[in-house]
Symmetry: C2
Subunit: 153 residues, 2 copies
Protein backbone atom coordinates (compact mmCIF):
# COMPACT_ATOMS: atom_id res chain seq x y z
CA UNK A 1 0.00 0.00 0.00
CA UNK A 2 1.33 3.40 -1.01
CA UNK A 3 -0.02 6.77 0.04
CA UNK A 4 0.47 9.80 -2.17
CA UNK A 5 0.53 13.22 -0.53
CA UNK A 6 0.89 16.70 -1.93
CA UNK A 7 2.26 19.64 0.07
CA UNK A 8 -0.43 22.12 1.09
CA UNK A 9 2.27 24.79 1.10
CA UNK A 10 5.83 25.56 2.13
CA UNK A 11 7.70 27.04 5.08
CA UNK A 12 9.37 30.41 4.66
CA UNK A 13 11.83 30.82 7.51
CA UNK A 14 14.95 32.70 8.45
CA UNK A 15 16.81 29.44 9.13
CA UNK A 16 18.04 27.42 6.15
CA UNK A 17 20.13 24.75 7.97
CA UNK A 18 18.80 22.01 10.27
CA UNK A 19 20.54 23.02 13.50
CA UNK A 20 19.65 21.22 16.73
CA UNK A 21 18.76 24.11 19.00
CA UNK A 22 17.36 27.63 19.57
CA UNK A 23 14.34 27.27 17.28
CA UNK A 24 12.37 30.02 19.03
CA UNK A 25 14.70 32.56 17.40
CA UNK A 26 13.34 31.57 13.99
CA UNK A 27 10.54 33.56 12.35
CA UNK A 28 8.35 31.38 10.19
CA UNK A 29 5.52 31.75 7.74
CA UNK A 30 3.58 29.00 6.01
CA UNK A 31 2.45 29.93 2.53
CA UNK A 32 -0.45 27.84 1.26
CA UNK A 33 -0.60 26.68 -2.35
CA UNK A 34 -2.72 29.31 -4.09
CA UNK A 35 -3.76 26.82 -6.76
CA UNK A 36 -5.68 24.71 -4.24
CA UNK A 37 -6.52 26.94 -1.29
CA UNK A 38 -8.32 30.20 -0.62
CA UNK A 39 -8.42 32.64 2.27
CA UNK A 40 -11.31 30.53 3.62
CA UNK A 41 -8.92 27.62 4.24
CA UNK A 42 -7.35 29.42 7.22
CA UNK A 43 -10.54 31.20 8.36
CA UNK A 44 -10.82 31.18 12.14
CA UNK A 45 -7.40 29.67 12.80
CA UNK A 46 -6.41 32.91 14.53
CA UNK A 47 -9.05 32.24 17.18
CA UNK A 48 -6.72 29.50 18.46
CA UNK A 49 -3.48 30.30 20.31
CA UNK A 50 -1.64 27.26 18.91
CA UNK A 51 -1.49 25.20 15.74
CA UNK A 52 0.13 21.85 15.08
CA UNK A 53 2.15 21.90 11.88
CA UNK A 54 2.79 18.60 10.11
CA UNK A 55 5.66 18.83 7.69
CA UNK A 56 7.95 16.68 5.56
CA UNK A 57 11.69 16.36 6.26
CA UNK A 58 12.47 16.50 2.55
CA UNK A 59 16.20 17.05 3.07
CA UNK A 60 16.65 13.66 4.79
CA UNK A 61 17.94 11.15 2.25
CA UNK A 62 16.03 7.89 2.05
CA UNK A 63 19.17 5.86 2.78
CA UNK A 64 19.65 7.68 6.10
CA UNK A 65 16.30 6.61 7.55
CA UNK A 66 16.55 4.60 10.77
CA UNK A 67 14.05 1.77 11.27
CA UNK A 68 15.42 0.14 14.42
CA UNK A 69 17.16 1.84 17.38
CA UNK A 70 19.88 4.47 17.85
CA UNK A 71 21.05 6.95 20.45
CA UNK A 72 19.26 10.34 20.13
CA UNK A 73 21.61 12.79 18.34
CA UNK A 74 24.19 9.97 18.47
CA UNK A 75 25.17 10.99 22.00
CA UNK A 76 26.70 8.25 24.14
CA UNK A 77 25.27 9.72 27.35
CA UNK A 78 21.73 8.95 26.18
CA UNK A 79 20.32 5.44 25.84
CA UNK A 80 19.78 3.62 22.57
CA UNK A 81 16.05 3.81 21.88
CA UNK A 82 13.77 2.85 19.01
CA UNK A 83 13.11 5.34 16.24
CA UNK A 84 9.48 5.51 17.43
CA UNK A 85 10.64 6.37 20.98
CA UNK A 86 12.41 9.52 19.75
CA UNK A 87 11.56 12.47 17.52
CA UNK A 88 14.64 12.61 15.27
CA UNK A 89 14.12 13.51 11.65
CA UNK A 90 15.69 10.40 10.05
CA UNK A 91 12.48 8.45 10.65
CA UNK A 92 10.18 6.31 8.49
CA UNK A 93 7.92 8.55 6.36
CA UNK A 94 9.98 11.60 7.45
CA UNK A 95 7.04 13.49 9.01
CA UNK A 96 7.60 16.23 11.59
CA UNK A 97 4.83 17.40 13.91
CA UNK A 98 5.28 20.54 15.99
CA UNK A 99 2.91 22.64 18.07
CA UNK A 100 3.54 26.31 17.28
CA UNK A 101 2.14 29.59 18.46
CA UNK A 102 -0.24 31.29 16.04
CA UNK A 103 0.94 34.85 15.43
CA UNK A 104 -1.43 35.95 12.66
CA UNK A 105 -3.15 34.95 9.47
CA UNK A 106 -2.77 37.10 6.40
CA UNK A 107 -4.61 35.80 3.35
CA UNK A 108 -2.97 32.50 2.41
CA UNK A 109 -0.10 32.97 4.85
CA UNK A 110 0.05 31.74 8.44
CA UNK A 111 2.69 33.35 10.65
CA UNK A 112 3.89 31.26 13.60
CA UNK A 113 6.64 31.10 16.20
CA UNK A 114 8.26 27.90 17.44
CA UNK A 115 8.35 25.99 14.17
CA UNK A 116 11.43 23.75 13.95
CA UNK A 117 11.43 23.43 10.17
CA UNK A 118 13.88 25.08 7.80
CA UNK A 119 13.13 27.36 4.86
CA UNK A 120 11.52 25.53 1.96
CA UNK A 121 10.14 22.63 3.99
CA UNK A 122 6.93 21.15 2.49
CA UNK A 123 3.92 21.38 4.82
CA UNK A 124 1.43 18.50 4.92
CA UNK A 125 -1.28 19.71 7.30
CA UNK A 126 -2.25 22.32 9.89
CA UNK A 127 -4.43 21.42 12.87
CA UNK A 128 -5.72 23.77 15.56
CA UNK A 129 -4.60 22.77 19.05
CA UNK A 130 -7.70 22.00 21.08
CA UNK A 131 -7.34 21.47 24.82
CA UNK A 132 -9.46 18.33 24.40
CA UNK A 133 -6.70 16.78 22.27
CA UNK A 134 -3.90 17.51 24.73
CA UNK A 135 -2.95 14.77 27.26
CA UNK A 136 -5.77 14.14 29.74
CA UNK A 137 -3.51 12.83 32.50
CA UNK A 138 0.05 13.57 33.66
CA UNK A 139 2.83 13.27 31.10
CA UNK A 140 5.92 11.34 32.16
CA UNK A 141 9.11 10.82 30.16
CA UNK A 142 12.65 9.52 30.65
CA UNK A 143 15.40 11.92 31.80
CA UNK A 144 17.10 12.10 28.39
CA UNK A 145 13.89 13.50 26.87
CA UNK A 146 14.14 16.50 29.19
CA UNK A 147 17.89 16.91 28.69
CA UNK A 148 17.61 16.93 24.89
CA UNK A 149 15.16 19.86 25.07
CA UNK A 150 17.35 22.04 27.31
CA UNK A 151 18.35 24.49 24.55
CA UNK A 152 15.87 23.49 21.87
CA UNK A 153 13.66 26.55 22.03
CA UNK B 1 5.84 17.75 -5.92
CA UNK B 2 4.47 14.42 -4.74
CA UNK B 3 5.37 12.60 -1.53
CA UNK B 4 5.10 8.85 -1.33
CA UNK B 5 4.50 7.27 2.08
CA UNK B 6 4.15 3.69 3.21
CA UNK B 7 2.23 2.65 6.33
CA UNK B 8 4.50 1.59 9.18
CA UNK B 9 1.67 -0.65 10.38
CA UNK B 10 -2.06 -0.79 10.98
CA UNK B 11 -4.54 -0.15 13.78
CA UNK B 12 -6.34 -3.13 15.32
CA UNK B 13 -9.30 -1.78 17.24
CA UNK B 14 -12.68 -2.82 18.56
CA UNK B 15 -14.39 -0.03 16.62
CA UNK B 16 -14.92 -0.47 12.88
CA UNK B 17 -17.10 2.57 12.12
CA UNK B 18 -16.05 6.24 12.31
CA UNK B 19 -18.46 7.42 15.03
CA UNK B 20 -18.04 10.93 16.43
CA UNK B 21 -17.81 10.24 20.16
CA UNK B 22 -16.78 8.01 23.09
CA UNK B 23 -13.36 7.03 21.77
CA UNK B 24 -11.96 6.19 25.18
CA UNK B 25 -14.09 3.04 25.17
CA UNK B 26 -12.06 1.70 22.26
CA UNK B 27 -9.14 -0.68 22.84
CA UNK B 28 -6.45 -0.24 20.24
CA UNK B 29 -3.24 -1.90 19.18
CA UNK B 30 -0.82 -0.78 16.50
CA UNK B 31 0.88 -3.65 14.72
CA UNK B 32 4.10 -2.66 12.98
CA UNK B 33 5.01 -4.08 9.57
CA UNK B 34 7.24 -7.06 10.37
CA UNK B 35 8.93 -6.81 6.97
CA UNK B 36 10.48 -3.44 7.86
CA UNK B 37 10.59 -3.19 11.64
CA UNK B 38 12.00 -5.12 14.57
CA UNK B 39 11.39 -5.13 18.32
CA UNK B 40 14.11 -2.46 18.51
CA UNK B 41 11.86 0.00 16.64
CA UNK B 42 9.63 0.44 19.72
CA UNK B 43 12.41 0.03 22.30
CA UNK B 44 11.97 2.49 25.16
CA UNK B 45 8.61 3.83 24.04
CA UNK B 46 7.09 2.39 27.22
CA UNK B 47 9.23 4.79 29.27
CA UNK B 48 6.89 7.54 28.01
CA UNK B 49 3.33 7.90 29.29
CA UNK B 50 2.01 9.19 25.95
CA UNK B 51 2.60 8.72 22.25
CA UNK B 52 1.36 10.74 19.30
CA UNK B 53 -0.03 8.52 16.58
CA UNK B 54 -0.09 9.84 13.02
CA UNK B 55 -2.48 7.92 10.83
CA UNK B 56 -4.17 8.05 7.44
CA UNK B 57 -7.95 8.47 7.05
CA UNK B 58 -8.03 5.92 4.23
CA UNK B 59 -11.82 5.60 4.27
CA UNK B 60 -12.33 9.26 3.30
CA UNK B 61 -12.95 9.46 -0.44
CA UNK B 62 -10.82 11.94 -2.33
CA UNK B 63 -13.90 13.74 -3.68
CA UNK B 64 -15.10 14.46 -0.13
CA UNK B 65 -12.02 16.43 0.89
CA UNK B 66 -12.73 20.02 1.94
CA UNK B 67 -10.18 22.66 0.97
CA UNK B 68 -12.02 25.84 2.01
CA UNK B 69 -14.39 26.33 4.99
CA UNK B 70 -17.33 24.43 6.51
CA UNK B 71 -19.12 24.13 9.82
CA UNK B 72 -17.55 21.47 12.09
CA UNK B 73 -19.68 18.29 11.89
CA UNK B 74 -22.02 20.32 9.68
CA UNK B 75 -23.74 21.75 12.77
CA UNK B 76 -25.45 25.11 12.32
CA UNK B 77 -24.73 26.15 15.92
CA UNK B 78 -21.01 26.23 15.22
CA UNK B 79 -19.30 28.79 12.98
CA UNK B 80 -18.05 28.12 9.49
CA UNK B 81 -14.27 27.79 9.79
CA UNK B 82 -11.44 26.84 7.46
CA UNK B 83 -10.44 23.20 7.13
CA UNK B 84 -7.13 24.09 8.82
CA UNK B 85 -8.98 25.62 11.78
CA UNK B 86 -10.71 22.32 12.56
CA UNK B 87 -9.65 18.69 12.95
CA UNK B 88 -12.25 16.92 10.78
CA UNK B 89 -11.11 13.93 8.76
CA UNK B 90 -12.14 15.18 5.29
CA UNK B 91 -8.98 17.28 5.08
CA UNK B 92 -6.19 17.69 2.54
CA UNK B 93 -3.73 14.78 2.83
CA UNK B 94 -6.15 12.99 5.20
CA UNK B 95 -3.70 12.76 8.13
CA UNK B 96 -4.92 12.27 11.69
CA UNK B 97 -2.72 13.07 14.70
CA UNK B 98 -3.77 11.98 18.17
CA UNK B 99 -1.99 11.87 21.51
CA UNK B 100 -2.72 8.51 23.16
CA UNK B 101 -1.80 6.87 26.42
CA UNK B 102 0.88 4.18 26.13
CA UNK B 103 -0.40 0.98 27.76
CA UNK B 104 2.36 -1.47 26.85
CA UNK B 105 4.72 -2.62 24.15
CA UNK B 106 4.77 -6.27 23.17
CA UNK B 107 7.24 -7.11 20.41
CA UNK B 108 6.03 -5.31 17.30
CA UNK B 109 2.72 -4.30 18.88
CA UNK B 110 2.00 -1.07 20.73
CA UNK B 111 -1.11 -1.05 22.90
CA UNK B 112 -2.71 2.36 23.53
CA UNK B 113 -5.88 3.95 24.83
CA UNK B 114 -7.48 7.08 23.41
CA UNK B 115 -6.82 6.44 19.73
CA UNK B 116 -9.66 7.78 17.56
CA UNK B 117 -8.92 5.61 14.55
CA UNK B 118 -10.98 2.65 13.38
CA UNK B 119 -9.86 -0.91 12.81
CA UNK B 120 -7.60 -1.27 9.77
CA UNK B 121 -6.42 2.34 9.68
CA UNK B 122 -2.90 2.73 8.23
CA UNK B 123 -0.41 4.25 10.66
CA UNK B 124 2.22 6.70 9.34
CA UNK B 125 4.33 7.47 12.41
CA UNK B 126 4.63 7.22 16.19
CA UNK B 127 6.26 9.97 18.23
CA UNK B 128 6.87 9.99 21.97
CA UNK B 129 5.17 12.92 23.72
CA UNK B 130 7.90 15.03 25.32
CA UNK B 131 6.87 17.81 27.69
CA UNK B 132 9.23 20.08 25.76
CA UNK B 133 7.04 19.70 22.66
CA UNK B 134 3.79 20.55 24.43
CA UNK B 135 2.57 24.18 24.38
CA UNK B 136 4.89 26.46 26.36
CA UNK B 137 2.27 29.07 27.14
CA UNK B 138 -1.49 29.01 27.81
CA UNK B 139 -3.71 27.40 25.18
CA UNK B 140 -6.81 29.33 24.16
CA UNK B 141 -9.52 28.23 21.75
CA UNK B 142 -12.99 29.31 20.62
CA UNK B 143 -16.06 28.01 22.50
CA UNK B 144 -17.08 25.58 19.76
CA UNK B 145 -13.77 23.75 20.12
CA UNK B 146 -14.66 22.93 23.72
CA UNK B 147 -18.27 22.03 22.92
CA UNK B 148 -17.26 19.59 20.15
CA UNK B 149 -15.11 17.65 22.63
CA UNK B 150 -17.84 17.26 25.28
CA UNK B 151 -18.47 13.55 24.62
CA UNK B 152 -15.46 12.77 22.44
CA UNK B 153 -13.53 10.67 24.93
Amino acid sequence: MEILLKPIGFVRASRAEPLDDHWDQVESAIELDSGTFTEESLQGLDSFSHVEVLFYFDRVQEGKIVTDARRPRGKTEWPKVGIFAQRGKARPNRIGATICQVERVSGLVLHVTGLDAIDGTPVLDLKPVMTGFLPRNPVTEPDWAQEIMAHYW
